[in-house]
Symmetry: C2
Subunit: 133 residues, 2 copies
C-alpha cells in the first residue's frame, strides 16, 4: 500500500453516490433489513421489536419509506388475525418491488465500501504475517 496522490482515474473513487440517503439513515436501514428478511411482511409491534425504536420514531421513518415508494402497508387479513389470536386489525408492512430492488442495490454499494476498507485490513494482515517469519 502506498500513499501516492490519486490519479485522474481516482476521481470520485470514494464518493459512494449509490448510498441513497432514504435507505442509508441508520434506523431506516434496520427497518428495511427487517422487512427484506421477512418477505411475508411484519406488523408494527414485531417490526418495532426488531429495530428497537420508539413508536414515534418507527412511525416517522415508515412514513418516509412509504412516501419513497419503498414500503407499503395494509390492514392484516382476518384469516391471519385468527391465527394470531387478536381482536383488532393491526397494520402490516412489507417491501414494495421497488423497495426491494433499491435496497439490494444499496447493499451492493455497502459491499463495495467493505471491500475498499477490507483491502487495508488484508494488507495489514499480510505485513503482520511477513514480519513474523
Amino acid at each position: 500500500m502506498t500513499s501516492d496522490p490519486p490519479t485522474p482515474d481516482d476521481a470520485g473513487r470514494f464518493a459512494y453516490d449509490g448510498l441513497e440517503r432514504v435507505i442509508h439513515e441508520k434506523a431506516r436501514l434496520g427497518i428495511l433489513t427487517s422487512l427484506v428478511t421477512h418477505p411475508g411482511g411484519l406488523v408494527f409491534t414485531d417490526l418495532k421489536e426488531l429495530v428497537g425504536l420508539t413508536d414515534g420514531n418507527l412511525n416517522r421513518h415508515l412514513v418516509v419509506l412509504e412516501e419513497a415508494g419503498f414500503v407499503e402497508s395494509q390492514a392484516l387479513k382476518p384469516s391471519a388475525l385468527k391465527k394470531r389470536g387478536r381482536g383488532k386489525r393491526p397494520t402490516q408492512y412489507r417491501l414494495t418491488k421497488l423497495g426491494r430492488k433499491r435496497f439490494l442495490e444499496y447493499i451492493g454499494q455497502l459491499e463495495q465500501v467493505v471491500r475498499d476498507a477490507g483491502s487495508v485490513q488484508a494488507s495489514r494482515d499480510a505485513r503482520a504475517a511477513g514480519a513474523s517469519t
Copy 2:
C-alpha cells in the same frame, strides 16, 4: 425463509447500534475510506478529488471528524513539498489511531448488515435453482 413473528431473542436484532453516526454519514464514510486506504495521509486537494465534494462540504465534514478525534491535520513537511513541487504548504489529513479503530469497528457492523441482507439473496438463489430443476 419464513415470516414468523420475531421471538424475544430477536429484540433489537436489526437495531445496528454500532453504526456510529459520525462515521455513517455518507460523505464522511467516503472521507474515512479514502484516509484508511492512504495511511501516509492525503492533502486537501487529493482528498477532495477522491470523495467528489466541494471545498465547503469537505471542510465542514473534516471539522466534524477532527472534533470527534478521528482525523488529524498538519502542514505538509517541506521535504514532502519539494517532491510535489509546490510553493505553499498545504494541509495534510490522516486518520488518528482512534479513528482507525472506530472505523474498522464500523466496517465490521456494515459486514453484519450485508450478511443479514445477503441471507435473503442466497435463499432466493436457492429457490430459483430449485425451480429450474
